[in-house]
Structure formats: structure tokens, C-alpha cells
Amino acid sequence: MSTATPVREAAPDTAAASPGARGWTRWWPAVALVALIAVPYSAMPLPGLLDGPIGSAGSLQLLALCLVFGALATGYDLLLGRTGLLSFGHALYFAAGSYATNTFMIEAGLPFVPSVVLGLLSGTALAALLGSVSLRVSGIAFSMVTLAFAQAGSLLVERDPGGVTGGEEGRAIPADKLPSFLAGIDNTANLYWIALAYLVLTLVVVQWAVRSPTGRVWEGIKENERRVEVLGLRPYGFKLVAFVVAGALAAAGGVVHLLLTGGATPQTTTSDFTLSLLVMVVLGGSGSRWGPLIGGVAYTWADQRLGDLAGSGTVAGLPSVLRVPLSQPLFLLGTLFVVAVYVLPGGVARLPQRLRAARAGARRSKRGEAGTAGAQVDG
């Protein structure tokens, strides 16, 4: 399948802007990608945004984390924004990829590559198994079943059966099993490129899946499941495909996260982790191509930087009314999320479109043609 035509279809309003700008706007993802690949070679400081120069190990680590969570949110949106499934258990498959890979290396003593492959397969198999069970119910019951499974996984990890998961401490990745180009702080650039590759993979898979005939059915299921049934299709199979693809992408993200943070941590199994994914997707704009990515990157960056800010002297000097809420990133992010639900339906990604619609509406009402602009803003 050629990818050129769907891109043009997807952006009718940018295409209409001007013929000269169109050529450029079509290629901006490639330009952005080249820029992202080149990041480790750059020593440009970004004061305020990052602590050190971009190419330093600490900044690369943070950037890589941002990319991983951006990609994870994009994968999660396959369920939430594309198929209309509100899963509260997505953290489970992320953690499964991470813990399974680590366990294969530590307990079974397997080399790195087979462990990664087996870890990915376990995460995907778990998603297929639990998805096939959870999808027998729909609506809020589905959300609760996925929540229950994820909670069971979280409890299991915390209970540390046979010392496999390491309980609340988590478990560090065995350094002797890692290939030499991934171990140590000097190789952060390689980890960054792996995170970037994972992001590109996720974006490509999600784009391809959404444009495929299956993706059209997902859209139908999201809009009106009953009508899809009336057309003679069984939504169950299509929803399961979405669930497994999203689960597999999450498992891959878990492996990248394992490498990046040097271990499997129980925080990735909790329901709070899934909820933060939900926050990322909704902040960025669910159901859009770049929205979840923007949300994931912004959330992760804000979470890390607000944490640093809370520990800094600037905040410690503030009066307690300001200092206390600022010391908890989750409070700010939760509040921001509530605000976003109100004032930003459709998230950040829908913002330019809404602004355009509002401006067009204002122009039209000036001409005395006040009409359906309000409805467009809501849509």
C-alpha cells in the first residue's frame, strides 16, 4: 500500500492552505525525525526545559523517557481513541513485557536477545488471553474487568512469589547479560535511539492499522457498535485485534523502559500508571495522530521537571500556600487534567482546529451570517 494518498486525505484543511506550504507540511515529520536522530550529537543548551545540554546523558535519558511514554500513549489510544474501549489495565502489558524479559534473563539465564523476544511474546500472549476474556463484556463492565486483571497483576508483583519480581523494590537488570553497547551511562545515546525507534515503530503500526480495513471497522465500533453488527460484522474479533496490537506495543515499550531505567519497577504495574496514560492521551487529544504523543511527551517532561522543581531552592522559598501544591507533580497534573477535560475537549491536538473554527465563526458573524459555527467547535 502506498502511504502518500492517505496522508493527503488525512489533512484536507492543511492541503487547502496554499500549494507552496503543502509540500513543506507534508514532510515535516521526516524533518522532525532527522532532528530527533541528531539530538545526541547536539550540545545546545535548552535552559529551563532541560538541565544540561541536549546531548548530555541526563537530558538524553529524560528525552528517551518522554519518547517511550509518548509512544505508549499513542499505542493506548488505539483502544481509547480509535476503538472506543476504555481499558483501565494497560499498565499490565507494559509491566509484563518489562518483568518477563528481566525474569528470562535472571531466572532462566537466557541471553539478551532471546529474552527480549520471549518477553515480547509473553506480553502479547497475556494481552491476547486477558483481552479475549475481558472483551466478552462491554462498556463500564469492560473497564472494571481490565482494572481487576491489572490489579491482580499488581498484587502478584508486590507479593513477590518465589522472589521472582523483587516485590516493592523491583529488580535490576543483570549487567552481565546486557550487550556492551547498552550498558553504562556512556551509552545513553544508544538507548535514546532505541526509544526513538520504538516511537517510530508505534507511530507506523498505529497509522497503518488505523488506515487498514480493520481500522475502518474500529472507527465504526467507536461510533456505533450496534450498526457494525447490523452490517454483518462481529465487533468482538476486531476489538480483540485492537487489544492485542495495543498490548504488544505496550510490551515492547516495557522492554525499552526496562533498558532505559535499568530495571523492572512495581510502579509500572499500578492502576495509577494506567490512569496517567489516560491523562496523557486525553491531554494530548484522543483519536488524533499526534495528540497522544504530544500528551505523553508533555506529561513525562512535566512530571520529571516538576519533581526537580519541587526539590529546588526556588520552591522552598515560596510561602506555604504555593509551595505545598507545587511540591507534588501529581497534584498539578491531576488538576491540569480536570481543567483540560473542561476547556480542551479533544485535547491539545484539536486546539488549532478549534481556534480556526472560532476565528471563522467570528468572521462569519461579523458579516451577519451567524450560523453553525458553534456546532463545529463542539465537534
Binding site: 463500564i140 463492565a141 474487568v145 481487576a148 498484587l155 490512569l275 507534588q328 497534584f331 473542561y342 475537549p345
Partner: protein, 295 residues
């Protein structure tokens, strides 16, 4: 024998805690179709409110006798107020967008525990209960902590009050009718929205009371308490049937007992796991909930 008695009473105490959370959750979902993820936060607010008052910050309140009753009442009142504010400020403007309502409660459920741990620290704080309630008493050869009995008593009182309210008052009638068929009640010219705020207030009060008494049960308060109880409350709500208070009471007792006995007789932590798996199994076997109300 004495172990069985102790486990049974402790299980019922835990069940009472679950009931206090789940009864409000169940009514809110039954009437408004909102799965309130902020309900755990309301419980935490109640717990911290009581703890704050009982630690001597509120004049007249203290850790013993009438002062403690005042502290619990204060915590419950703060929780109720928070629930009403939540409904009026956040849920009400989103009546036309049900999924956004759930998302808004998720945001509150994340923000409130974070705020609590920002103010009073993330670590557990010891809860100053009255001396009379920290002791034990003998029953069939077992030494049973008194606070278990307090919890069960409070839950029974709340159950009786809720049943009286739902069965004997006009507002209760509107709530029950709204749970059955909201559109029909609106068509009859009754403003269901007022009942929404009322149900949120009742649910918040019950959860906050649960938080205050949960402080006695656990002996401490910490910001994550409400959120961890919330999942078990979901189990109870699903088992008991959405919108059914009596069902929630039965299911809460069942879940509390199963959890305690399984935790003791099998491996520790396995009871929690069993309950969570039970939720999944129940939903899969009876997708509409046990009483057929789950949409």
C-alpha cells in the same frame, strides 16, 4: 475456634468499611451512571479531617470521649462538603458528556491524594483513637479489638438510615425511581439533578465516615488508603448490583470475610488476589451484574 471467631469479626469489620465506601458508589452509579473514581479521595478527606481534628487542631475535639465523636463528625462533614462541591463544580457542567464525567473524577482521584501527601507527607500518620476503642474484648475464647465492633455498628446504622431514607422519604422515592428509570422521572416533571447532589452528599458522607473509622481500623491514615480501598469497593458494587444498598451490604460482608479467611488460611495477599479475580469472574459470568442493573 478462637481464630475463626477473630477472623470472622475482623472480616466483618473490613466488610463494614467496604460497605461505607460502596453504598455511596453504588447509589451514584445507579442513579447517574457515573463511576466515581474520586470516591477514594472522599474517604481520604474524611480520614484526614478526623485525624486533623482528633490531633487537637479543632477546639473541643480530641482523641477520647465526646471529643472523638466530634472529630469523626467533623471529618464526615468535611467529606460531605467535598462531595457536594465535587458534584456542583465538576460533575454538573458535564451532564451531557458521560465519559468526561468519569475522566474528571479520575483527575480528582489523582490530585486529592497528592495534595494530602503534599500537606501532611506521604508516610502513614498514627491515628489518635480513644483509649476505650483500642482495647480488646473476649468472645468465644477470642480476643477481639473493639474498633471492629465500632465499624460494624456504624455500618449497620448507615444501612438502616439509608434504607429508611430510601424507603420512607420523598427524596428517597425520587432517588429510587431515578435508579430505575431516570428519563421517566424527568418526564414526570421532577428535577432529578437535585437528587444527584443529594446522592453525592450521602455517598460522600458515608465514605468520609468510613475514612474516619478506617483510621481506627488501620491505626493510621495515609494518602493512598482511599484509592486502595476503592478497587475492593468496586468489587462490592458489582457483586451487590448497581444502585442496591442492601445488595452492597451483603456483598461487602462476603468480600470482607473471603478476604480475611483466604489471607489467613492460604498465603498472605492471596485473599486480595482472590477478591479481584472474583470481580472479573463475576462480570464475565453475569455481564449485567448480579441483579441485572449494570449497563
Amino acid at each position: 475456634m478462637s481464630t475463626v471467631v477473630l477472623l470472622a469479626v475482623t472480616g466483618l469489620g473490613l466488610g463494614a468499611l467496604y460497605f461505607l465506601v460502596a453504598s455511596g458508589l453504588s447509589l451514584i452509579f445507579g442513579l447517574m451512571d457515573v463511576l466515581n473514581f474520586a470516591h477514594g479521595a472522599l474517604l481520604s478527606i474524611g480520614a484526614y479531617g478526623s485525624w486533623w481534628a482528633a490531633s487537637g487542631h479543632l477546639p473541643g475535639a480530641g482523641s477520647s470521649g465526646a471529643g472523638f465523636v466530634l472529630a469523626v463528625a467533623f471529618g464526615t462533614a468535611v467529606g460531605t462538603l467535598a462531595a457536594v462541591v465535587l458534584e456542583l463544580a465538576l460533575i454538573r457542567p458535564l451532564y451531557q458528556r458521560p465519559r468526561e464525567q468519569v475522566l474528571a473524577t479520575v483527575g480528582v482521584g489523582l490530585a486529592v491524594p497528592a495534595l494530602l501527601s503534599a500537606i501532611w507527607g506521604a508516610d502513614a500518620r498514627p491515628f489518635p483513637g480513644p483509649h476505650a476503642l483500642s482495647g480488646t474484648f473476649g468472645l468465644l475464647g477470642a480476643r477481639i479489638p473493639v474498633n471492629r465492633l465500632v465499624l460494624v455498628g456504624a455500618a449497620l446504622l448507615v444501612l438502616a438510615a439509608l434504607r429508611l431514607f430510601l424507603g420512607r422519604t420523598r427524596h428517597g422515592l425520587v432517588v429510587r425511581a431515578g435508579v430505575e428509570d431516570r428519563a421517566m422521572v424527568t418526564a414526570l416533571g421532577i428535577d432529578v439533578r437535585r437528587a444527584f447532589t443529594l446522592v453525592f452528599a450521602i455517598g460522600g458522607a458515608a465514605a468520609a465516615l468510613g475514612g474516619a473509622l478506617g483510621g481506627l481500623y488501620y491505626g493510621s491514615v495515609d494518602p493512598g488508603q482511599g484509592t486502595s480501598l476503592l478497587i475492593f469497593a468496586f468489587v462490592v458494587v458489582v457483586m451487590g448490583g448497581m444502585g442496591s444498598v442492601a445488595g452492597a451490604a451483603l456483598a461487602a460482608a462476603g468480600v470482607g470475610l473471603v478476604q480475611q479467611f483466604a489471607n489467613y488460611y492460604t498465603a498472605s495477599g492471596l485473599g486480595d488476589l482472590a477478591v479481584v479475580v472474583l470481580l472479573a469472574a463475576l462480570l464475565l459470568l453475569r455481564p449485567s451484574g448480579l441483579t441485572g442493573r449494570l449497563a
